[in-house]
């Protein structure tokens, strides 16, 4: 087994026992990136030199006998909407194409302190707005299970990097499903933590009351290791939760007795691939066979939730993106007056989806419409939270799909924004409620594409999610799932971009 095929937990063990050096580990991933990324385009910026330098430092410190963090020397990829000091952070937008932050996001500082080499910054939908990574201003990322299809979004790059062994771990961000939906489309594990569990300081804001940084990994244990590092109170983030961080690895051993699981009946059923429903049902049966009590739970407000989300998120985004005016940083268009400069900079610098959302958000907040749109949506959000509180009185865990369909084709939904928005139908209400949610592989579609399950728990119950994720891993014959990447042999097949 090659180093790049190993999990972070396994690499950590070998690094700590000095069977292997961090430099060797990093080199293995760098070679893998060289091999695979020209076709899949998961990375916007690759940083091989920095990664090797970091690896070398860790190796020296380990040789000197220093006690290091368990993840020291294990490399990681970082979504390009998370600020990295002196390393360009583009958010996949022309407007930040050459923006170089003078500070690290809190989570990045944690990665560096632990000694994790950063392999590069991964591709995303521009400003995290999208469900396919096709909205990147630079290039789309391709699904490794079928390069003619999308990897999902917005954290497409991070997910593909982990799915193909270009990185053992990655950081993503999730606002309305941006970690969970792509994780499900690519066969990896993606965690959206409780709102406030992981610091947002340094995460370029899309929708402030919904954004969270989360983990992308191939196993629940790896997710737990990474959560141990990045979760916790940050005095720089006023919405950060002060509760102590548990050891997320604890409780990963099996044992589902007494677990009450609610199988979600969504408010609407159309748009769901029947094999997805089947996979979720099978998962429910598996849980039942192993001692869990499974019942049904309805979340009747799901499609109202979609509507509310598509008012709340763009509204907050329209405000968060006001700062991109060409004055202090970023792309700046010519203009003989300040107004012309503002409008041209933003008109030319932002992509179509971003502009659409800014328009919706501006409208929903504007005088005369605020009450009917934004305020109303906030009230609907309260109703949805109540639905969850009711559900969690009867159940400890909610089980559903992480995406209504497997991966769709590139270009299939780009002309119809509403169709694209429906990709998030399973994920959005969790975000609105602020509860933690985990996507784990749930089998395969008959086409060979992965399907994903979504597990949702009460606030601060990430441990339970990871434990259940681990359970499902153990039911599989083969784990982690690895795409064959057959297309790499067909280089003449026109997959190069």
């Amino acid at each position: 087994m090659r180093l790049y095929e190993m999990t972070a937990a396994e690499l950590s063990r070998r690094l700590q026992s000095r069977e292997v050096s961090s430099a060797e580990v990093v080199r293995s991933f760098l070679e893998r990136i060289d091999e695979v990324d020209p076709y899949l385009r998961a990375f916007i910026t690759r940083t091989p030199d920095l990664a090797l330098k970091s690896a070398g430092e860790i190796d020296s410190r380990r040789m000197r006998g220093e006690t290091l963090h368990p993840l020291a020397g294990v490399p990681i990829a970082v979504k390009d909407n998370i600020s990295t000091l002196a390393l360009r952070t583009t958010c996949a937008s022309r407007i930040l194409e050459n923006y170089i932050p003078p500070f690290d996001a809190t989570v990045v500082a944690a990665l560096k302190k632990a000694g994790m080499p950063i392999l590069g910054k991964t591709n995303l939908d521009e400003f995290a707005m999208g469900s396919s990574t096709e909205n990147s201003a630079f290039f789309p990322t391709r699904n490794p299970w079928d390069p003619g299809r999308v990897p999902g979004g917005s954290s497409g790059g991070s997910v593909v990097a982990v799915a193909t062994g270009m990185a053992p771990l990655a950081l993503g961000s999730d606002t309305g499903g941006s970690i969970r939906q792509p994780a499900s489309l690519c066969g990896v594990t993606g965690l959206r933590p409780t709102y406030g569990r992981v610091s947002r300081y340094g995460l370029v804001a899309f929708a402030s009351s919904l954004d969270q940084i989360g983990t992308v990994s191939t196993t629940a244990l790896d997710g737990a290791l990474l959560m141990n590092l990045i979760a916790g109170y940050d005095p720089l983030d006023s919405t950060s939760l002060p509760e102590e961080v548990p050891d997320y690895r604890a409780g990963l051993e099996p044992g589902l007795e007494k677990l009450r699981v609610g199988l979600i009946r969504y408010g609407r059923v159309d748009g769901f691939d029947p094999e997805v429903t089947e996979a979720v049902n099978k998962a429910a049966s598996m849980l039942e066979e192993h001692g869990a009590k499974v019942g049904e739970v309805s979340l009747p407000l799901t499609d109202y939730g979609l509507s509310a989300y598509y008012l709340i998120a763009p509204s907050e985004a329209s405000s968060n993106l006001g700062r991109y005016d060409g004055v202090r940083y970023g792309f700046c268009a010519d203009g003989d007056s300040i107004e012309a400069m503002f409008s041209r900079t933003r008109g030319e610098g932002f992509g179509a989806e971003v502009k659409r959302r800014i328009m919706i958000g501006t409208y929903a907040l504007s005088a005369g419409y605020y009450d009917a749109y934004y305020l109303k949506a906030m009230k609907v959000r309260t109703l949805i939270r109540r639905d969850y509180e009711k559900a969690f009185k009867k159940f400890d865990l909610l089980l559903g799909a992480a995406s209504p369909t497997p991966a769709f084709k590139l270009g299939e939904k780009t002309e119809d924004p509403l169709q694209m928005y429906l990709s998030d139908v399973c994920n959005i209400t969790d975000s609105l409620a602020g509860v933690p949610s985990l996507a784990v592989p749930g089998g395969f579609h008959s086409s060979g594409l992965p399907l994903g399950l979504q597990l949702t728990a009460r606030p601060m119950q990430e441990k339970l999610l990871l434990k259940t994720g681990r359970f499902f891993e153990e039911q599989r014959a083969e784990y982690p799932l690895r795409p064959s990447l057959d297309f790499l042999e067909e280089r003449g097949g026109g997959y190069e971009i």
């Binding site: 170089i100 709102y195 509507s307 060409g326 970023g330 012309a340 328009m359 924004p417």
Partner: protein, 102 residues
Amino acid sequence: MPFDFGKEVDHVARLARLSLEEDEKERMAGQLSDILKTARRIQELDTTGIEPTSHVTERPAVLREDRVRPSLPLDKALRNAPRREKGFVKVPRITVSEQDQK
């Protein structure tokens, strides 16, 4: 009665400082009409007496001590600024009517 965003496009684009080409405007008007039509479904729900959620975190604000911390050195603060002069950020002329809106 179909919802027509076309009339609103110019006003909203101006509020948002987004310059749009004519064909962009047209396309957007249609797309936004559709999206908003769907979004308006929330009007169907009865929310009488429901408090809006502006924060899912139900706690009071965090307060920090009034202590001065080092600022960014000038070159770091302005590193990404497209136009600079003598330590200031430089911008094109501002008309009086623009100042008026403050």
